[in-house]
Symmetry: none
Subunit: 412 residues, 2 copies
């Protein structure tokens, strides 16, 4: 079933908010096997909305509208839809009661325009709003399904998942799709694609689609089979073929993050880590503690943003700083060893380098060293990164996490 | 000039990413006086893109496309645009050189498909890509302006601001608008709106529009005057009225960030800061070092993610931890004093608290203490924050920055 999403609201066209509703709905619809081919955003203008609706009806089977169901004058989605369908609006008794009840409960005065929220398209299925006041609705017209949802994301999401999607699934006009996302680090999108070009080309079920993420690349495998076990088998086979080529860059499925994979592997190995951060200013620790439970494996960091701190907190030798500078493999090694011995963790990881944009004369921006100290000794990773200050710092943290994760996995 | 934005990429229709590019462009275009009436997102499919382009040309004067300029086979925006316009693609020598140079510099192997990025529409203005490889372009056809921008937000934003928008402004078909954004912290959107409701209501030039941002609120003032000095005067007057009401929560204009304001005030006062981070795991240091030049005022942090580290690195007393726990004003004070004496900075700031989602039994999630030690003594801020782990941590860092910024400004 060809589906499209229309977001209604001038705030979108002014750039005051991003259309995250379309993202949420698309992700839910894709997972449920619906094909979404278009997103549109249009302002609170009846004439333009009408024209967008007509265009949508000419190319899609199911049109989902978000926004414009509220109490104010510029909320006009259902009015426009009713007119387009050739019907009128009528009060929905339960919704009206719920609105009056809400104002009683909160002790606030109800302005007259709030009642307008209880109006629905005559003959439509009403979708209750458990998180707010304006109900949603599904109207069928001319063989097309029209779903109207409220704009506030918390109301819209709950309504869609609880009432809207189940209703759509009843229509049965969809192809079941199973998909799987593979995540890679340390390889560019074009190189990844080149290495598996023949697989992408010759693979039609599942299809393989690369996507460049934030300093990472993902592959989405999408399989269409009526039997779940067959889809799984096809996905497993495609994944195996892909990983034979580029497995060294692979780190996880789905919504996995490098920090979560690292944390998990540390906890599984009963290992701990501490960090010595210069260039990254605390980013490694921040990222590792984004997830709850990080204290099981992460003890802490010394953020040493100048040479004095490197000496005072980590015992980096003055001779090392003088002879090689702070941006050097030697300094990275001493930092990693220094934090490991200070904290007594299994691993000590260090980050030093020049992030730019300006050079201090000693090291070119993008020159980065990551040290990892463990009972097996100390390794230093030399990196030459390009791009903005922010990109260099973000990539540095990811390189460190990826390298440490590989060591922990191998029990090094 | 009627403008619309078309985002190209199947990842949008699958809900893998939100269309933040349309938000950014809309906000920039609105500020520059262009009217945006439609956003569309369409997949990597030449036929559907062509159809969307035709529809856009039927209703808009200027069409901005984002995405699909990359090296892979499913990148087909410029191919489709060239075909639509009735012309061909040709190599742009500078862009090709820059791509080859990039690979030389990073020492990576260049796959053949990367060259494709240097192809541009014959006869178009080329927009250089300073942050990536694929150039953008502006093509004029049939009285319409077509601008093609890359999909990755960092590349797109820089290209649009540096090369795209100035070119559009040359067309002159717009209403001059001067706008100013005021940034607030520590006050909610509805409270801010309530406090200045009468100003918002009665003010038509400039208009005043509140917008909730990430843990902050902004007000956008937009003035329409043909003479710049008049616009400035009206903006100044409106700002003065607003700050009389809510000035205590105001911290900066435009793209200012709390971290940049704090860094600037520290440097101006020749003051320095170091941090003791538990709850925030390094986030304060990470945020402060996002900007270049942070080393002038930031020495470093001790990230002390367990009690042992708090004692070992910062000299927090075992009795304090036993009697009051790590999440206590007493611990926050000792952490702030500990890092200040360890580093010898003017200020020591500390962060301790429970971010959740689970409680360890000793402190409820959202209980947060921020300590600030200076030559004038030690202050502890008690916070009770609500929301997700990520929100609690982000707000903690911002509260600390805002409080420290106010102290530094007052010379405390």
């Amino acid at each position: 079933m060809k589906t499209e999403i229309i977001a209604v609201g001038t705030e979108l066209l002014l750039g005051q908010i991003a259309n995250t509703n379309a993202q949420f709905l698309s992700s839910e619809l894709a997972a449920a096997g619906f094909h979404v081919y278009h997103h549109t955003a249009v302002g609170d203008n009846s004439q333009r909305l009408r024209s967008v609706m007509e265009h949508a009806a000419s190319r899609s089977d199911c049109i989902i509208l978000t926004g414009g169901l509220g109490p104010t004058k510029d909320d006009l989605t259902k009015e426009t839809a009713a007119e387009y369908i050739g019907t009128t609006l009528a009060y929905h008794a339960e919704s009206l009661e719920a609105i009056i009840e809400h104002y009683k409960k909160t002790g606030k005065e109800m302005s007259e325009n709030n009642k307008k929220q209880a109006l629905v398209i005559e003959g439509s299925f009403v979708l209750p709003n458990d998180k707010g006041m304006a109900p949603g609705m599904i109207a069928c017209h001319d063989g097309k399904v029209w779903m109207l949802l409220p704009g506030p994301p918390s109301e819209m999401k709950h309504m869609f998942q609880t009432y809207g999607l189940p209703k759509l699934l009843e229509t049965g006009r969809r192809e079941p799709v199973k998909s799987r996302v593979l995540r890679f680090f340390g390889i560019g999108e074009s190189m990844l694609e080149t290495k598996i070009a023949d697989l992408i080309e010759h693979q039609s079920n599942p299809t393989i689609a690369p996507l460049a993420g934030e300093h990472e690349v993902t592959l989405r495998l999408s399989a269409r089979f009526s039997i779940d076990a067959e889809a799984k088998k096809a996905l497993d086979e495609a994944e195996k073929k892909i990983l034979e080529r580029v497995g060294e860059f692979y780190y996880g499925h789905g919504e996995s993050t490098l920090e979560a994979m690292l944390l998990e592997s540390l906890i599984q190995s009963s290992a701990t880590v501490s960090a010595a951060e210069s260039l990254t200013g605390g980013w490694f620790g921040k990222a590792l503690t984004d997830a709850a439970g990080a204290s099981k494996a992460f003890s802490g960091s010394a953020v040493v943003y100048n040479n004095e701190m490197k000496q005072r907190m980590l015992g980096v030798k003055p001779e090392t700083l003088e002879q090689f500078g702070a941006v050097s493999p030697e300094c990275a090694a001493e930092m990693a060893e220094g934090i490991r011995s200070l904290t007594g963790t299994s691993y000590g990881i260090s980050f030093t380098g020049a992030a730019g944009p300006d050079s201090d004369g000693s090291a070119a921006p993008g020159t980065v060293y990551v040290g990892i100290a463990s009972s097996a000794g100390t390794k230093v990773l030399s990196l030459q990164l390009a791009g903005s200050r922010s990109r260099i710092r973000a990539l540095t943290v990811k390189h460190g996490m990826f390298a440490l994760w590989q060591m922990v996995k191998k029990g090094q």
